[in-house]
Symmetry: C2
Subunit: 157 residues, 2 copies
């Protein structure tokens, strides 16, 4: 994956967490996402298509997801319920949207976020994407952003 694809997702994640949650993320080292790396328990996924196609996954632990929703909603959910999953979907949507505006030349359109929740889940990207994982730490817990994008050889109408 082209490295210039990744910076917009890093800055979008930093911006969205700062703006929406008042939360300063500290970025850890980028790594190639290896096969079968388990994600955190709650993950927001959104598809991207246009002159490149792919997926972004924003993963948080259960407690971090509840804390994020608490900040966004102003009340603490007891568990990972519909409100928490919607909040994580909305964060993912905003991160994808902010990254998209920085990748204007690829004319990306973004799908709708889907949120998955489950223990020991493994998220696999297609082999050709060489997805990158960006770990972040913050006062509400660790966050992981995974991005897999490939450039389309044939222009999309």
């Amino acid at each position: 994956m082209r490295v210039e694809f990744i910076n917009p997702f890093i800055s979008a994640t930093l911006d969205v967490f700062k703006t929406m949650l008042g939360c300063t993320l500290v970025r850890g080292p980028l790594s190639l996402k290896r096969e079968h790396t388990p994600a955190h328990e709650v993950s927001g996924l959104i598809g991207l298509s246009g002159k490149c196609r792919g997926m972004i996954v924003v993963s948080l632990g259960r407690e971090t997801a509840i804390r994020a929703a608490e900040i966004m909603l102003g009340a603490r959910p007891d568990e990972v319920d519909r409100d928490v999953m919607d909040a994580i979907g909305e964060l993912t949507n905003m991160i994808a949207g902010a990254a998209k505006t920085q990748l204007e030349e690829y004319r990306l359109t973004i799908g709708l976020p889907t949120v998955i929740c489950g223990k020991n889940q493994v998220i696999t990207f297609p082999s050709e994407t060489q997805p990158l994982a960006i770990p972040f730490d913050s006062e509400i817990g660790p966050v992981s952003v995974q991005v897999g994008l490939v450039e389309m050889l044939v222009p999309v109408a």
Copy 2:
């Protein structure tokens, strides 16, 4: 969600399972996907965008996913490994691609498939999509296809 969105996904799923796996699916009753319905253990997800946006999820149990991969690869994988996840991603991609050609007026582009694997996982679509779940049964086990799409009010460039 508009009901005319759903038929292309049903026929695409039937066609792809028949063509790729020689497997005749028997469709069960459509249902609104309720919150927190657990999916099967292995799920292929793909985002769609254009004049409508959304996601399709193709879920299979672990044994069904292994059987599907066995038919596609000609050899039985011992477990849900990279090959199985790639096979399920490819099936999901073909189903989305076949549905897309039947929904030409929406000018859909499809993302890349991502495959998740995990016990007791819950997949949540955004509230506004009213996703539908289509259960299928087959000789290799049950398959569930979930589709959530919303029409965009503002035309996408």
